[in-house]
Amino acid sequence: MTVAAAAAALRRAGLGGITGSPLAFAVVLVAMALLLAVPFAHNGYLNNVFRNILMYAAMAYGWNLIGGYTGYVSFGNVTFFGIGAYSAAVLSAHGIDNLAAGVAVGAIASAAFAVVIGIPVLRLKGHYFGIATLGIALAVADIVANLDALGGSSGIAVHQVDDAHFSIYYYAMWLVALASILGTYAIARSKLGYAFVAIRENEDAAAVLGIWATRYKVTAWAIGAMMAGAAGAIFAPANGFIDPSITFATDANVFPIAMTILGGIGTVAGPFIGAVILAGANELLQRYFVKAHTLFFGAMIVVIVLVLPRGLVWLFGLRGGLRAWAKSLTTYKA
């Protein structure tokens, strides 16, 4: 009775709802606090590994807004990461090495691109939208590879600050990830979040309830673009060098999607949990299976999607433990 009463009290307080499990969100915040400690190990390798996890988390949150909350599955969000990275690189080439300036310009440029592309492309639905976004991602990568001003396919060096363990970049990425998490939470607690979800659930019914779908879809895409763009703007100097094959990589496109689905699509905690698990697993597999790691990685994603189609966060809200989960495997309907 007490558990049910507590759950009811949480719901009345407005917790849960479209944010997903409050418990999972608390776990994410605690994990983020722990991640602050990583640079104290003074280990450049560890900083890189965890900075990558935070980077993927920010990108996953960016994808989650359009793909998870609004229900428009984008295969082109890597474009925003690339635009952010190249924005920082261009600024750096002009002697501006300020991280905050890079993040601001990268985020704004990505959002602007999302608005310009989103107004026509977000009229498409379902698979058509996905294919169009994939096409845009490939086209932008090709355009950049052929622009001499951006270093073409051979890439462009980005000035790095003198920091033996890259701690500055680590903390900057941590801040971007935190902003993405808290931003998503704030959206999911606001009217904006409900507009996104209403569009996902039924766009026609949403319109009849007064929701101007185009405006909110573009908003979701643009806010998500800012998250990916900011992550890219930190990645560029942290990596010291970018080229189209790094910044518009298939991995960078697919990982955030897989992470969000693993963690829990359309939840506040899901992308982070998925990013930690998948980026961590990828790192370990890469260490021990130099060639075959993608095979294991792919198999892992398949198994996870089969046994946990609604993501890990869903387990937090599941009553009845393992038995209920086992039952869900046989009764789950898409």
């Binding site: 009811a8 719901r11 407005g14 709802g17 479209i18 607690r189 606001s190 009217k191 409900y194 507009a195 979800v197 209403a198 659930e201 039924n202 026609d204 019914a205 949403a206 319109a207 009849v208 309830l209 007064g210 929701i211 101007w212 779908a213």
Partner: protein, 270 residues
């Protein structure tokens, strides 16, 4: 100046080669309850879609408060004060009943004035009104069909409408539930909301409507007070078929002839 809230003027809707509606005109008085009836496929739902701005009419126009509905984007129709329910319910399946209604309260006519919290408070009130408070936290996809119909009504009411279009909200309800639904609609109407009700249940529609419009094969065949409309031969023909009307006429003829035969003296042998 007429007191009409809604002007429906020469509406025609063509789907390919089929005119789903043609030259339908009538006006709806402010505060009225207009019953819209007609056999299956007569164009009732199409007309609801035109009034709510989901379809653009091929000919004619719907005017409300100085606006042509066809010029207003679908998402702004509710801001003019027109709300509707769907015959085939369209709940937000993964949201609970309370959230479903709250979305309407957030983005409807009064939505911009409401905070998230205020929208949820309004949703709680409306769930009480339509008797869904008992399942407020249940996912919409887990609700029974009658409850989903109630949810549709609550979502439409959350838009704070002046005109409410109700498309078969009583279908599938039992007699007691129909009585409750009618009571609810009367209460809504008494608060000044104009209702346009599409319904197959003749008893229900007669008891609530102040005026009835009858459609058949996309045309308006009758309009007026409920009793008059139901007595009109065209309406009877539309519902019961021309064969039935012909057969009624034949029966009458036979009856007449029988009576005449009885009253007339038997033909005398010459």
């Amino acid at each position: 100046m007429s007191d009409a809230a809604l002007h429906i003027d020469g509406i025609g809707v063509r789907f390919g080669g089929l005119w789903a509606l043609s030259e339908v005109s009538f006006e709806v008085e402010r505060g009225a309850v207009l019953g819209l009836i007609g056999p299956n496929g007569s164009g009732k739902t199409t007309l609801m879609n035109v009034i709510s701005g989901v379809y653009k009419p091929t000919t004619g126009e719907v005017r409300y408060g100085g606006h042509r509905i066809a010029d207003v984007p679908t998402h702004d129709v509710c801001h003019l004060g027109i709300a509707r329910t769907f015959q085939i319910v369209k709940p937000f399946a993964n949201l609970n009943a309370r959230e479903n209604v709250a979305v309407g309260a957030m983005y409807g006519r009064e939505g911009s004035k409401r905070s998230t919290r205020a929208a949820f408070e309004r949703a709680d009130e409306l769930l009480e009104v339509v008797d869904l408070a008992r399942v407020a936290y249940r996912r919409a996809s887990d609700l029974t069909i009658p409850d989903r119909k109630r949810l549709e009504v609550a979502k439409a009411l959350a838009l704070d409408p002046e005109v409410l279009l109700l498309d078969e909200v009583m279908a599938g309800l039992n007699a007691t539930e129909v009585e409750e639904a009618l009571e609810l609609l009367r209460r809504v109407n008494q608060r000044g909301v104009t209702l346009i009700v599409v319904e197959h249940l003749m008893k229900a529609i007669v008891s609530i409507s102040t005026c009835i419009v009858v459609l058949a094969e996309g045309r308006k065949i009758a309009e007026g007070a409920p009793a008059d409309v139901l007595a009109s031969p065209q309406v009877i023909e539309a519902y019961l078929g021309s064969r039935w009307v012909k057969r009624q006429a034949q029966l009458e003829q036979i009856e007449l002839e029988r009576r005449e035969a009885q009253h007339m003296p038997p033909p005398s042998p010459s």
